[in-house]
Structures are given as structure tokens and as C-alpha cells.
């Protein structure tokens, strides 16, 4: 069964006719060709598919595209400024070497931005707990934690 869906993705209105069972991540990757959002596990554990829906980090592999009907979706492609300047969280990941292969990175950054906005000044332990739903196999989390703490500070300072 095909359904018509409409939403805003990275500030632009998009609409399409998709199979009802189309996942949000499939819509983002295959229909919109925004391939920065990744699929690492398809069971909602790895977090590589994390995007923002109406300002809140969600796992786009475990919801249907039609559940995002009318929503405002932000993917990793929409995080940096239009002139290419990195968001403070992205910049912190670069500065603190918070990424290696880059595959979990978009999900890490999307989750971190949401977390930092809601929990300014979080402790290292709180940052580690915030990553419960984001798996990284390369970095051992050490530098991701450092990056999120620094990015969080930079976001607060930029307010």
C-alpha cells in the first residue's frame, strides 16, 4: 500500500508517495538520498540512524516515514551552517578526535546536540550514560566523551 507523506527535512519541504512500511531512515537515505544518516543495526541499539524530529533525537530506523508526517526533521547534512562552518558540536568532535571511521559519527553528533541542549554542564558520567544508545567500535568512547563535554560548553557559550 502506498501512502503520501509530507515533512520538512533540513528546512526544505519534501513530499513523496512511499510504501506504507517505509522506514523513516529508508525515506531519508533512499528517497531523499541524504546518505549521512546510517543504518548500523536495524534494531535501535547502535544509534547510527539518529536524526532530530521536532528538535528531539530519534532513531530513524525504528519508526515509519509516515510517523514523521508533518514533522520537522534535521539530519546530519543540515547541522553545519550554510557557508559550511561546522556546528560547535561537530567542531568539538574534530578537535578532540572524537571520530575514526565516521560511521557512527552522524548519530553521535545528533544525539550529542540534543543531549547538550537539554543538559548543559553534564558530568563525564552523565555524558557516558547519554551514549547508552549509541555504539562506537573505533574510539573506545574516550574522545567522544571529551568532545561532547567540550561541544556542550561551546554550545552554551554560543547561546
Amino acid at each position: 500500500m502506498a501512502v503520501k507523506i509530507s515533512m520538512k527535512v533540513n528546512g526544505k519541504p519534501v513530499s513523496a508517495e512511499v510504501e506504507a512500511r517505509t522506514l523513516l531512515v529508508t525515506f531519508i537515505r533512499e528517497h531523499l538520498r541524504l546518505t549521512g544518516t546510517h543504518v548500523g543495526c536495524d534494531t535501535a541499539q547502535c544509534g547510527a540512524c539518529t536524526v532530530h524530529m521536532n528538535g528531539k533525537a530519534v532513531k530513524s530506523c525504528s519508526m515509519l516515514a509516515m510517523q514523521a508526517e508533518g514533522a520537522d526533521i534535521l539530519t546530519i547534512e543540515g547541522v553545519a551552517k550554510a557557508d559550511g562552518a561546522l556546528h560547535p558540536m561537530q567542531a568539538a568532535f574534530k578537535e578532540h578526535h572524537g571520530l575514526q571511521c565516521g560511521f557512527c559519527t552522524p548519530g553521535m553528533v545528533m544525539n550529542a546536540i540534543d543531549f547538550a541542549a537539554k543538559h548543559p554542564g553534564a558530568s563525564e558520567q552523565e555524558v557516558r550514560e547519554s551514549l547508552e544508545g549509541n555504539l562506537c567500535r573505533c574510539t573506545g568512547y574516550h574522545n567522544i566523551v571529551k568532545a561532547i563535554m567540550a561541544g556542550s560548553k561551546a554550545m552554551a557559550a554560543a547561546k
Binding site: V39, E77, A80, Q100
Partner: protein, 786 residues
């Protein structure tokens, strides 16, 4: 004069694309006319295939083709080859059973490939895969290697009725037995090195396309070594001319060994792309990764150390049964042999060592290299044994190590390796200071007041990176060379593109290699780009595994740079009307010795491409050089780790509270990247020790740990922040003095953690992973014994 880029914490050139979602991984590649493949996999660990009915699947909406093993056999598609021949103690070659890309007649593990369905969309292919009717006759299965060799165990392959692939040995057995006979004390352990599932976060993927116009193929694949993939696939499986196949390993989301191998899926989509005349893409679901990526470890070992009355090691005797899984994966045979037994000397002067390995087929996924590959298993044997020996002998664990450290180099071990350099006291001294070992008793006491058991464990590991040289590897059974290739292409305006046969899937080669080149040529790092991962661009490559990239791939680049500089000197001599022998070169500046005459690198590059004032009669124009480098020896990174754990008495929950690591990687190009490699390695090592365990049901052979809920990849709150430092003894046989750093953490961490846990509990041994349940049971058993 430019400041040195070698040793600088340069931010990574690759980060921007990864941080903005612009990375291009295999599944991101969408080709015109794209079709999608889904594999039908065996639900049985061991079964005969009585029949396969395709018609319902073929009739389903959007389905283009269904292929089975019979189709591949009819098309004369060969089996997947093994790249290393081991010769057994009986003088016979290992048993190499056929490994068809799609099963023929029988399936041998849960997840084995039975058929492929190709359709217009992924969902159509997935739906139709359910419609392929396979009639199986289930057979008894065996998943444990020790059980597989017992009489009456089900046999997987006709050519190996006892399920043994080989029995292989290294060392002087008679000398070892004699040393044991006169030992003052023998410490013995019997343990399992737990089976692991690599789980790179990017699942494997392959997307192949065939051009009838060019009669050529392009395969995009998540691979650590695209040239090796191409060589194996063309020469051994598909019988295609190599120049007609381009293999591209674009951005690859982690490998850890699991993306070294030529897999069935890669072959099938490549073959099918020609049958259909359309691109065919397969991307693993995570559940497929669990059942079909090559697994790691899975050793059962009995190890003994013979000592004199002062704790001086006299001899070591090791017997290992290694589980190879159902088929021989690409490098499976060399992992529990060449990369394992040769490391058993560790950092010690143990004069004689004997190791016997029996490698066994079981109804499980193939087992191959996983981060460290043989070396973590060897280090675990040595370092658990050494720590236990210290306790047996009532010696301080650091002291027993010092009494046995190798102190003079080069050092020939009794297990074939020649260590070129090292300073083991230096890393041990440094780590003990960093970990505040002297304050441990106080911390233990304080923890006890909180109801926690605190323990401290050491691990002093040795690693061997960059298997070499090729001729010796060949004599030991390698069916490939182990060199690396590099090319330096200087552009007319002086910027540089570097091509390397190494492949980065997280290691940051685009930055590290650029640092090496920019430093030597006196260029800003922005003027140097590194290209890797495409057989149509790179002259050749053996790829990235075994922490070989900087030591072998980096050296190939340096050799090519040497040629660039040598040619540059000729050009400079001509331009400055001096003798070539009078030209001195340093970081981009060509000088006439003893004068103030000089030419910058950019001027030389320009002259080479606009050869108006140029010695055309003696010298070709252009500035482009390549080099192949075959190392003369392995490199030997080493280090000392101290782990401190706290265990909750009531729940058995174990927390790594401190982890200190001091490594000797020789010269370091980018300390930031090296630290990142150590962090990741340590976390995988701690994962092995505390959380990760692949389990199959012993009766049915079903994988019990087939998702991230059942198989615990460490989360951020399972591991601590690490304390790291380095000591430096430069490698003596490569120009950069580098050794490699990618696997060290995974090699050294498991023994450090388990030594700390057994110290905290006051017990001799505990199986990995030390989950809360395992530790709690050990605490209860302790109580009972008391």
C-alpha cells in the same frame, strides 16, 4: 624552515566529510538501474539440502533472479580460497575442503549461504527470499572444537572425517620436556580464549556493476584490501582477467579484521551483475553480520611454565585447540599458528618453548583474524601464566617479569622471531608510576570499606606487525606477497597526491601519510592529499591489517619520496649549474653546499613539467615516482598495562576504575591518532574480558548471541577514561622508525583485566567474559570454600 609535522597532533583531513554526512560508504553508492540482493541463509547448523524450489520467489513482484549453488556450479564459479597453507606435524598439507559461495548439497553453519534473490527493490527481494522453499534434512551438529575431534562427532567435510584441518607445532619439544623435568616449579593453566564477533558498526556491503561495452566489472565493497579482494576473486573464483575488474573500497566503517576477507556475497553480486546486466547491491542487516562475518579467537589452551627456584622461566609448553568454524576463511589457517605460536616468548627470555595447535572444523561461522589476530591469544596465555606464576612463587608480579625481561637486542626468540629493539623495563617503570602502584594497598583498603573488592593486574605484551619478508612468509605457507606499494604524484604547481596500497577504515591515513609527505617536502599539509581504496587509481596494494599500514605502507611512500628527492636533486643541479653531488636537500629546499644558492621544491616541480631549462638529454620530464617496499622483518611494538578493577561483592558487577597504558610504538607520526587507536583497542580488549562472548547452542548449533542485546559490545559507561603514555625505541629496519599501533590495546587489555579480577577475588582463574553472573558465582564458590 617549516616546523616538523612528524610527531604533531594534526587534526584529521578526513573529519569534515564524516562530520557533515558526506562520507561515501558502500551502501551509499546508488547506481543507475540498481537492483538489490538478499541472501537465503541456512537456519540449520548442519543439514543436507534435499531440494530448493525457486518458482514462487521467481513469480513474486519485482523479482529478477534467484540463484543457487547449482547455478554457480554450472557457470563454473569456483570456491573461496584460503590464502595460507599450513603444513602439519605429519608433513601433510592442511585439509582444504571446498568452500562454495552458495552451498552445494549441504549447509554447515547457521547463516551459510543457500540462495540469492535479486529484485527491483530491497523490500521486494526480502519478501521473495521468504518464498524460496528449501527442503533440509537436519544433521547432528558440533560447535565446540574439543568435542568436534572426539570419536563419533558429526563430520563436516568428507576430506576431514575427524574434523581436523591440521595439527601443527613450533619449537623444540624434547628440549622443553627436559627443562620441565628439572624445574623447581611448574605453573599450569587451562583456559578458553572466548569467541568474539567483530561488529564493525558499518555492516558489510557490496555493489557490483558490469559494463558490456567495456566487458569490465566494478565492485564497490566494504573491504580493508581491495587489491587482495580483486586478486582472489578474479584468479581463484571467477576466472576473470584482473584488468577487467575494478574494486573500490570507498569509506569503510571499521574493519577490525572482519573486512579483510573475500566473502561469498562479494563474489555472488559480481557474478550476478553480468547475468542481469544491471548493478546488484547487497547490504548486510546486523543479524546477518552476526551470523556471517568471520568471527575471532575461540581457542582452548593448556599452558605450562617451568621455573627455577627464583622464578626464572626455563620452558613453556602450550597445547591449543583452535576453532576454525565451518570453512577456511581467507587467512584462517595462519592465525592460530604463524601469528600465535611465534608470539609466545612475549617480553621474556624463556629459552625453550613448544606449542602444538590442532585446528578444527565445527558447525559455526568461519573464524579468522580479529583485531590482534593470534597475538591477543598468545599474550593472554603468556601474561595470565606469568601473573599466576608470580602468585605461585610468592613473587611480586612486576618483579617476576623484570627477572625474565629480554634486555639485549636484537634478540632471537625460540619461536622464530628476531626482535630488533625494545626496552621493557622503561614501559613497566612508567606504567607503574602512572598507575600509582605503590598507592594500591591504600585504595584496596578504602574500597573494602565501601564493600568493594579491588584488584590490580599487569600485562606486558609484545606484538609483531607487518608480516615480513615475503619470501620467508612464502616459505611458511603464505600464498601472497606482503609488501606494500606507494606512489607520489607531484603536480606542476607543486601540490602532491599520494597513492597508497594501504586502506584506511578509521585509522586516519589521509592525515598521517600526508604528514609524512608534507614534512619531507616542506609543504603545508593542505598541499598533500592521500588516495586509497581504488584498484583503478592505486598501482597495487596489500591493504590494511595486522597494524602494518605505517610500517609497510608508510615506508613504501618514503621510498617513493626518496626517488622524488633524488630526481629533484638532478633537476636542481641543472638549474643551479652545480654538480649533483653538491646538492643538499632538507624539507623542500635544494641547496648548493657551501653557497647561498637554493631552489624550492615548487620550483623544481614546475621545471619538471615545463622543461624549458631542463636536462632533457639525460632526464625524463615529470615528477612522479612509485615504490614497492618489502620489509626485512616484522616490527615489534610492546608495552605495559596496569588495570585496576572494583567488584561489587553482592552483585559481581565489575568496574574498570583505572586503566594505565604505556606503549612503545617506536616513532609516532600523529600522537592524537595513535592515542585514538589505543583507546579503541583497549575498549575491544576490555570488551573481550568483561562483556563480549559469542555463544552457540551446543546441541542445535543456533547462534544465541545474534544481536546487540545478546552480544554486548561495550557501551560508553562500561569503560573508563584511559591514562596513556609512550616510550620510544625506534624500529631499526624502516626509515621512519615506526612500529604500528592499531592492535596493541586489544592485545594487552584482556590479560590485564583478568589479572586484576583474579587478584581482587583471590582466585586462580576465571573464564572470560567476567560478566556479573560469572563473577558473582566465583564469589559464592569462594564463600563456600572458606
Amino acid at each position: 624552515m617549516a616546523t616538523s609535522l612528524i610527531g604533531a597532533r594534526v587534526a584529521r583531513k578526513e573529519d569534515y566529510r564524516f562530520l557533515t554526512g558526506a562520507g561515501q560508504y558502500t551502501d551509499d553508492v546508488a547506481l543507475p538501474g540498481q537492483t538489490y540482493a538478499v541472501f537465503v541463509r541456512s537456519p540449520h547448523a548442519h543439514a543436507k539440502i534435499k531440494s530448493i524450489k525457486k518458482d514462487k520467489a521467481l513469480a513474486a513482484r519485482g523479482v529478477l533472479a534467484v540463484y543457487t549453488g547449482d547455478d554457480l556450479a554450472a557457470a563454473k564459479v569456483g570456491g573461496l580460497p584460503c590464502g595460507w597453507l599450513i603444513t602439519g606435524t605429519d608433513g601433510q598439507p592442511m585439509k582444504e575442503p571446498p568452500h562454495p559461495p552458495l552451498a552445494q548439497g549441504k549447509v554447515r553453519y547457521v547463516g551459510d549461504h543457500v540462495a540469492v534473490v535479486i529484485a527491483e527493490s530491497q523490500s521486494a527481494a526480502r519478501d521473495a527470499a521468504e518464498l524460496v522453499q528449501v527442503d533440509y534434512e537436519a544433521l547432528p551438529a558440533v560447535v565446540n572444537a574439543s568435542k568436534a575431534t572426539q570419536k563419533g562427532a558429526p563430520a563436516l567435510h568428507d576430506i576431514a572425517p575427524d574434523n581436523k584441518c591440521y595439527t601443527w607445532a613450533l619449537g623444540d619439544k624434547a628440549a622443553v620436556d627436559a627443562a620441565f623435568a628439572k624445574a623447581a616449579h611448574v605453573t599450569k593453566l587451562d583456559f578458553v580464549n572466548n569467541r568474539l564477533i567483530p561488529n564493525a558498526i558499518e555492516p558489510r556491503a557490496a555493489n557490483a556493476t558490469y559494463s558490456r561495452a567495456e566487458d569490465s566489472y566494478t565492485l564497490y565493497v566494504a573491504s580493508q584490501n581491495p587489491h587482495v579482494e580483486r586478486l582472489l576473486m578474479t584468479a581463484f573464483v571467477l576466472g576473470l582477467p584482473e584488468h577487467k575488474v575494478r574494486v573500490v573500497a570507498p569509506d569503510v566503517g571499521g574493519g577490525f579484521g572482519s573486512k579483510i576477507y573475500l566473502y561469498a556475497e562479494d563474489v555472488v553480486v559480481t557474478w550476478a551483475s553480468r547475468q542481469l546486466g544491471r548493478p546488484v547491491k547487497w547490504t548486510a542487516e546486523r543479524s546477518e553480520s552476526f551470523v556471517s562475518d568471520a568471527h575471532g579467537r575461540d581457542h582452548h589452551t593448556v599452558a605450562e611454565m617451568a621455573m627455577d627456584k627464583d622464578g626464572k622461566f626455563l620452558a613453556m609448553r602450550v597445547r591449543t585447540t583452535a576453532n576454525l568454524g565451518a570453512y577456511l576463511s581467507t587467512f584462517a589457517s595462519c592465525i592460530p599458528t604463524i601469528l600465535y605460536a611465534t608470539l609466545l616468548a612475549g617480553q621474556y627470555t624463556t629459552p625453550v618453548i613448544y606449542c602444538e595447535v590442532t585446528a578444527v572444523f565445527t558447525n559455526t561461522a568461519p573464524v579468522d583474524a580479529y583485531r590482534g589476530a593470534g597475538r591477543p591469544e598468545a599474550t593472554y596465555v603468556v601474561e595470565r601464566l606469568v601473573e599466576t606464576a608470580a602468585r605461585d612463587m610468592k613473587l611480586d608480579p612486576a618483579e617476576i617479569r623484570r627477572r625474565n625481561f629480554i634486555k639485549t637486542f636484537p634478540y632471537q626468540t625460540p619461536v622464530a622471531l628476531m626482535y630488533d629493539t625494545g626496552n621493557y623495563d622503561a614501559t613497566l617503570d612508567a606504567v607503574m608510576k602512572m598507575a600509582d602502584v605503590t598507592g594500591f594497598a591504600r585504595r584496596k583498603e578504602e574500597a573494602a570499606k565501601r564493600g568493594k573488592l579491588r584488584g590490580l593486574g599487569y600485562c606486558c605484551y609484545i606484538e609483531a606487525c607487518g608480516i615480513a619478508p615475503s619470501n620467508i612468509a612464502g616459505a611458511l605457507g603464505a600464498r601472497a606477497g606482503l609488501f606494500e606499494a606507494g606512489e607520489i604524484r607531484v603536480h606542476p604547481t607543486g601540490s602532491v597526491t599520494v597513492f597508497t596500497g594501504s586502506h584506511a577504515h578509521g585509522q586516519g591515513h589521509e592525515t598521517t601519510f600526508a604528514q609524512v609527505v608534507a614534512d619531507k617536502l616542506g609543504l603545508p599539509i593542505e598541499s598533500v592529499d592521500v588516495v586509497h581504496g581504488d584498484t583503478s587509481k592505486i598501482l597495487f596494494g596489500m591493504g590494511t591489517y595486522g597494524s602494518r599500514s605505517i610500517a609497510v605502507g608508510g615506508t613504501a611512500i618514503v621510498k617513493a619520496l626518496d626517488k622524488i628527492i633524488a630526481k629533484g636533486k638532478k633537476i636542481a643541479a641543472h638549474l643551479m649549474e652545480a654538480a649533483e653531488t653538491d646538492i643538499e636537500y632538507d624539507k623542500g629546499v635544494f641547496k648548493v653546499a657551501g653557497t647561498d644558492k637554493q631552489k624550492m621544491f615548487g620550483e623544481i616541480a614546475f621545471a619538471a613539467y615545463v622543461p624549458h631549462n631542463y636536462p632533457l638529454d639525460k632526464l625524463e620530464p615529470g615528477l612522479n615516482e612509485n615504490a614497492f617496499y618489502d620489509p626485512t622483518n616484522f616490527t615489534f611494538p610492546a608495552g605495559s598495562y596496569v588495570c585496576e578493577v572494583e567488584i561489587d561483592r553482592d552483585t559481581g558487577v565489575t568496574k574498570v576504575v583505572n586503566f594505565s597504558a604505556v606503549d612503545d610504538f617506536g616513532k609516532i607520526i600523529n600522537p592524537m591518532i595513535v592515542e585514538g587507536q589505543v583507546h579503541g583497542g583497549l575498549t575491544q580488549g576490555i570488551g573481550q574480558a568483561l562483556t563480549e562472548n559469542c555463544r552457540y547452542d551446543p546441541e542445535s548449533g543456533q547462534l544465541l548471541t545474534g544481536s546487540f542485546t545478546d552480544y554486548c559490545v561495550p557501551r560508553a559507561d562500561d569503560v573508563p577514561s584511559y591514562r596513556l603514555d609512550t616510550r620510544e625505541t625506534p624500529c631499526t629496519h624502516n626509515p621512519l622508525g615506526v612500529k604500528g599501533c592499531g592492535e596493541a590495546g586489544a592485545i594487552g587489555a584482556p590479560a590485564a583485566v583478568m589479572n586484576a579480577i583474579t587478584d581482587a577475588l583471590g582466585i586462580r582463574d576465571l573464564p572470560m567474559p567476567a560478566t556479573a553472573e560469572t563473577v558473582w558465582k566465583a564469589i559464592q564458590a569462594n564463600k563456600k570454600a572458606a
